[in-house]
């Protein structure tokens, strides 16, 4: 079986060491390189072509978000897992907009890293459970304060289904095949979902899905 090739990027050697230790205990995972800052990560990703980049958000020279953007734009097949201390929606949204597939809190890196790497390698998204919780709490609190109803309740079962599939990273064509619908119908459902939830773009949709626990 082919091993999943991983590039580790963190400006702290201690953290990199700990992550490497975790990864190397797994038979199907291999660390192919380590980077010390954002620029090095971008150039190593270009030359090593790893399957997954596990990268800290706060790095010198070029921060993780900018590096993720450059990597995913140059090599869309590389999956990026962001490592962060922040569970706030600003960070998650920025990471998603930069093309990251996974968002991992450093506190829970030890227990979730392996799962995250496997998920993104399969093309799925992964978010630390704590992230979903914080996002949901913020959302619920805001709804309570403003007295608005949860837009999710407005969705039809079919729309919810499509929301989940889009959030998982499936294309319109994949979804059409899976649900036995025409691509056009899928497109209509999708834009209805975006409108009802007042979302602009896939990153916000994924964020919403994570918040509601639709994906993890």
């Amino acid at each position: 079986m082919r091993k999943i090739r991983i590039l580790l990027a963190d400006d702290h050697k201690l953290i990199r060491g700990g992550l490497r230790l975790l990864v190397e205990q797994q038979a199907d995972l291999a660390v192919v390189g380590e980077a010390n800052d954002g620029r090095e990560t971008v150039s190593l990703a270009k030359s090593l072509k790893p399957d997954v980049v596990v990268m800290d958000i706060g790095m010198p020279n070029l921060n993780g978000i900018e590096a993720a953007l450059q990597i995913t734009q140059a090599n869309p097949e590389i999956s990026v897992v962001m490592l962060s201390m922040h569970s706030d929606e600003s960070y998650v949204l920025r990471a998603l907009k930069a093309g990251a597939k996974g968002y991992l809190l450093k506190d829970s890196a030890e227990s979730d890293l392996i799962k995250a790497v496997h998920s993104v390698a399969e093309g799925k998204s992964f978010f630390s459970p704590a992230v979903s919780k914080v996002l949901l709490d913020d959302y619920v609190r805001k709804l309570k304060r403003s007295g608005a109803e949860d837009a999710y309740d407005l969705l039809t079962p079919r729309e919810r289904e499509i929301l989940q599939l889009v959030a998982e990273g499936k294309s319109n064509k994949d979804i059409a095949n899976l649900l036995n619908l025409s691509v056009y119908t899928v497109e209509t459902h999708r834009s209805n979902v975006m409108e009802k939830l007042n979302l602009h773009g896939i990153p916000e949709l994924i964020l919403f899905a994570v918040r509601r626990g639709i994906i993890s």
Partner: protein, 468 residues
């Protein structure tokens, strides 16, 4: 801190020399006042003196000319009366030769009395040195009178025989002598007049020289005093300029100091934050990873060790959490990682999570490329205002609005808390906000009233570094 010593050191000698110089200038003012008084008195005195002297001189010269006129007049009367009386005697003596009737002898005696009266009259205007001359004249007149008394008694024959002899030998010499004497008196008078005129002229000259002296004295004093005044004014001006310069310098230093203070505070916070986050935080993070590894190595049956490891883990986790909180408060990495608006949104949510206040953020047109100082200033402003609203004003809702246009960026934070009086309650927080905004050349406003919430606003000019 470095420059705090020089202004203090400069301030103390200035204040002591201030009291000295004020004492000094009081003395100078008094002296000037006295000098001006003297100058004025001198000028008035000179004027009054000159006025009286001129009047006296005028009176003296009038007196001189009056006396001269009176004496000349009196002399004239003498001469005329002598002539008349001589003429009468001649006509009396020659009445036979001329074949006309001569004057009566009593008439002639009357004429002699007129001459006497004229001489007596002149005596009143007489000067002592002229007395001799007048007495000679009176004696001669007496002699003539006596001689004439005899002549007047002459009969026609005697008159015919002796008239020419008497006239030629007596009357003409007498008359000539009389006229000589009056001429002497007249010339004496004229000399006296000249002398008196000379005296008046001399007095006038002395008055003139005294006036010249006084005026030049006043002039010198005036010039001297204006020189002193000029010097005094220059000195005052220099003092005022020095004082103003010192004042503006110390104000500049103060401004620079507070600006550096803010800068130093920010730098310090950044350094501590980085240190905490990078060193302590990361070490603890690595420790957590290691502990996780360790827990996998311990067999699950060994419950005691497992519990111990879990405890270590939870302690490390809580340490990580508190260090992260402190680091975030000191220098939020969001500003660097995400930019201003997401960082403000993060902060708004953070406060919403921690308190009962819900915060909304509205942003318009805010560019990503704002300068670091501008970002930090706005961030701190919002942080301070929101913290005040949540902790001191018990606000339920707050709103942060931030908008950018071509040359400035405007921030406003409003809340619905119970408000305060911004004139009286200006804590360090508000002063700090004001200082940060002013340092960037912006304007800071704060509006609040009891029970009416609060509104904190700032307008910051955009520099080249801030443009998108």
């Amino acid at each position: 801190m470095r420059s705090s010593t020089p202004p203090n050191a400069a301030a103390s000698p200035t204040s002591s020399s201030d009291s000295q110089s004020s004492e000094h200038s009081k003395k100078i003012r008094r002296l000037l006042l006295i000098a001006f008084g003297w100058l004025l008195a001198l000028l008035i005195g000179a004027g009054v003196d000159a006025l009286f002297a001129v009047r006296r001189l005028d009176r003296a010269s009038q007196e001189v000319s009056r006396r001269f006129t009176a004496r000349t007049h009196a002399l004239g009367i003498i001469v005329v009366s002598v002539r008349i009386y001589d003429d009468q005697i001649e006509r009396f003596l020659l009445q036979d030769q001329l074949r006309e009737s001569g004057p009566e002898p009593s008439d002639v005696a009357l004429k002699i009395a007129t001459v006497h009266a004229a001489l007596e009259n002149f005596k009143r205007e007489l000067d002592p040195d002229e007395r001799g001359l007048l007495e000679t004249m009176q004696l001669q007149l007496q002699e003539e009178e006596d001689a004439c008394a005899t002549v007047l008694a002459w009969r026609a024959e005697t008159r015919q025989q002796r008239a020419f002899q008497f006239i030629g030998q007596q009357l003409i010499p007498w008359r000539t002598h009389m006229f000589e004497l009056t001429a002497q008196i007249s010339s004496l008078d004229e000399r006296k007049l000249a002398l008196e005129n000379l005296a008046v002229a001399e007095r006038f000259q002395s008055l003139e020289s005294r006036l010249v002296w006084l005026v030049s004295l006043a002039l010198i004093a005036g010039v001297l005093m204006s020189l002193i005044c000029g010097w005094y004014i220059l000195r005052l001006e220099r003092q005022a300029r020095l004082r103003y310069e010192a004042l503006s310098r110390s104000r500049l230093e103060l401004e620079g100091l507070s600006a550096r203070l803010v800068e130093a505070q920010e730098e310090e916070r950044r350094a501590i934050s980085r240190e905490l986050h990078d060193e302590v935080g990361q070490s603890l993070g690595a420790l957590l990873v290691e502990v996780g590894q360790l827990s996998k190595l311990v067999p699950p049956e060994d419950r005691a060790t497992q519990a111990q490891i879990d405890h270590i883990k939870s302690v490390a986790e809580s340490a990580v959490k508190s260090i992260r909180d402190i680091a975030l408060l000191l220098r939020p990495p969001m500003l660097d990682d995400l930019g201003l608006v997401p960082a403000l949104e993060w902060q708004a949510r953070e406060i919403s999570r921690r308190s009962d206040m819900e915060v909304e953020v509205h942003s318009e047109n805010v560019s990503e490329g704002l300068g670091d100082e501008t970002k930090v200033t706005i961030y701190r402003l919002v942080q301070e205002a929101l913290n005040n609203a949540a902790t001191h004003a018990s606000a339920k809702n707050a709103k942060v609005s931030i908008a950018q246009n071509s040359d400035k960026i405007t921030v406003e934070i409003t809340d619905d808390g119970h408000g305060f009086d911004p004139e009286r309650q200006r804590g360090m927080g508000i002063l700090g906000m004001e200082e940060r905004v002013r340092r960037l050349g912006g304007t800071f406003t704060i509006e609040s009233a009891s029970g009416k919430g609060a509104s904190v606003g700032a307008k910051l000019p955009l520099h080249k570094a801030d443009s998108p």
